[in-house]
């Protein structure tokens, strides 16, 4: 293995890990808030959403990276959105065909991936400047970071609102003789805003202590 290869491998690892924590799209960059808040009432839809975003992110990064030398500056945002909306249409049709129940729950939030700032931000900040492989790895890292964050948030909310995670009961419910009284507010918009706010605060506190 040559030195160049090792340096490349380092760069790839660095890019992949950046998306997971250091530049985590939700916690650090504050991107893609709308789906983060809207689909995190339970883990399953959150996971589906995360996978859709990974798919669209990877595909659009590939396409944008391949045509980065042909792009005209004033037209690039338009081209990005068109590319993204094409792949979102594919993802949406796929969900409708194979996961009709999920598609119903997610509703308009799947097409809303088009305007998810993460994807356009990565196209602009990474794919339009880097080679194909770096763009793909960046997309995977960012997508994984986004999915992970979504699942954490959804886990907290689902646990507090129904006492279950991934529809598996963890806390015994009060109405079946247990102790846990479902905290309904958590499954409503209120819960989304406040949980995300507190989680952000927690992440801020954790990182500021380390520094």
């Amino acid at each position: 293995m040559t030195k160049n290869n090792i340096a490349n491998a380092e760069l790839y690892k660095e890019t992949l890990l950046a998306g997971l924590w250091r530049e985590n799209p939700v916690f650090r960059l504050l991107l893609g808030m709308c789906p983060t808040l809207a689909v995190t009432a339970a883990v399953k839809p959150a996971l589906t959403m995360g996978l859709c975003v990974i798919f669209v992110l990877v595909c659009s990064n590939i396409v944008v990276s391949l045509m980065r030398n042909l792009l005209k500056p004033h037209l690039r945002i338009l081209i990005f959105t068109l590319t993204i909306s094409t792949f979102v249409t594919i993802a949406d049709l796929f969900l409708k065909a194979f996961q009709p129940r999920m598609s119903e729950i997610l509703g308009p939030y799947v097409p809303l991936i088009i305007v998810n700032c993460i994807i356009i931000c990565r196209a602009e900040a990474c794919a339009s400047k880097n080679t194909l492989i770096v763009s793909i790895i960046d997309a995977l890292g960012m997508g994984a970071g986004f999915t992970l964050t979504l699942c954490v948030l959804a886990g907290v909310r689902e646990l507090l609102s129904t006492g279950a995670i991934f529809e598996i009961q963890i806390f015994a419910l009060a109405k079946t003789g247990g102790w846990f009284e479902p905290w309904l507010a958590m499954s409503m918009p209120v819960g989304a805003f406040i949980t995300l706010g507190l989680l952000l605060g927690l992440v801020n506190a954790a990182t500021s202590k380390k520094a």
Binding site: L30, L31, M33, C34, L37, A38, I77, L78, T81, L82, S85, T86, V88, T89, D92, L93, G107, P108, P111, L112, I114, V115, N116, C117, I120, A185, M188, P189, V190, G191, A192, F193, I194, L196, G197, L198, L200, G201, L202, N204, A205, S208
Partner: protein
């Protein structure tokens, strides 16, 4: 009389009961980004209102007259985003020409209206709720804009006062804004179920 009733009810419902920001989580990005000062928030709200009315109407027309007629519903999302991008371009040119001061203070946020989920979201919701009447679509789009303006102005007013409050260091900025939004959403939950 009946139509008028439906229109008024629809308007109130989209402004208060089904407010896009507090119940549908749409338009959170500009909501967090621009709600620092009340005059900017109001300008942003007006720009969004204009774009959303324009694009809501246009997408309804395109959807019903062209796409549904020719079975091209698959290309719906692509068409919608093109219409919105065009409408934003129009507003940008208008604001730059007639309100240069406002244009300066918006900075990056004006072109970002294109990726404001509230606008695409509303176009999709109009489609989802199966609104089959042009007038109703126009009223709903306009109401959505007003609702967004109201939400962002309330938030800006609170945040101007929040600057003076003693907030824990780790909650400064976005976290406290989100928590405030949560409490506001709680207040708006009181309207739930009033209409529809």
């Amino acid at each position: 009389m009946d139509t008028l009733n439906i229109l008024i009810m629809g308007f109130i419902s989209i402004v208060i009961v089904n407010n896009l920001v507090f119940t549908k989580f749409l338009g959170i990005c500009p909501y967090l980004g621009v709600s620092g000062r009340i005059d900017m928030a109001f300008g942003m709200g007006m720009a969004v209102t204009f774009v959303v009315t324009l694009s809501g109407t246009l997408t309804w027309l395109i959807d019903h007259l062209i796409l549904m007629g020719t079975a091209l519903e698959v290309t719906r999302y692509v068409c919608f985003i093109l219409v919105i991008a065009g409408a934003v371009q129009l507003v940008e040119m208008y604001v730059r020409k007639f309100f240069p001061g406002l244009y300066e203070s918006f900075g990056i946020f004006l072109p970002l209206i294109t990726t404001n989920c509230a606008i695409l979201g509303l176009c999709l919701f109009i489609n989802l709720w199966e609104i089959d009447n042009l007038l109703e679509a126009v009223v709903l789009s306009f109401g959505a804009g007003i609702g967004f303006t109201m939400a962002i102005c309330i938030m800006a007013g609170i945040r101007e006062n929040l600057n003076l409050a003693d907030v824990p260091a780790c909650l400064k900025g976005a976290p406290i804004t989100l928590i405030t939004a949560g409490i506001l959403a709680l207040a708006f939950m009181g309207f739930a179920g009033m209409i529809r």
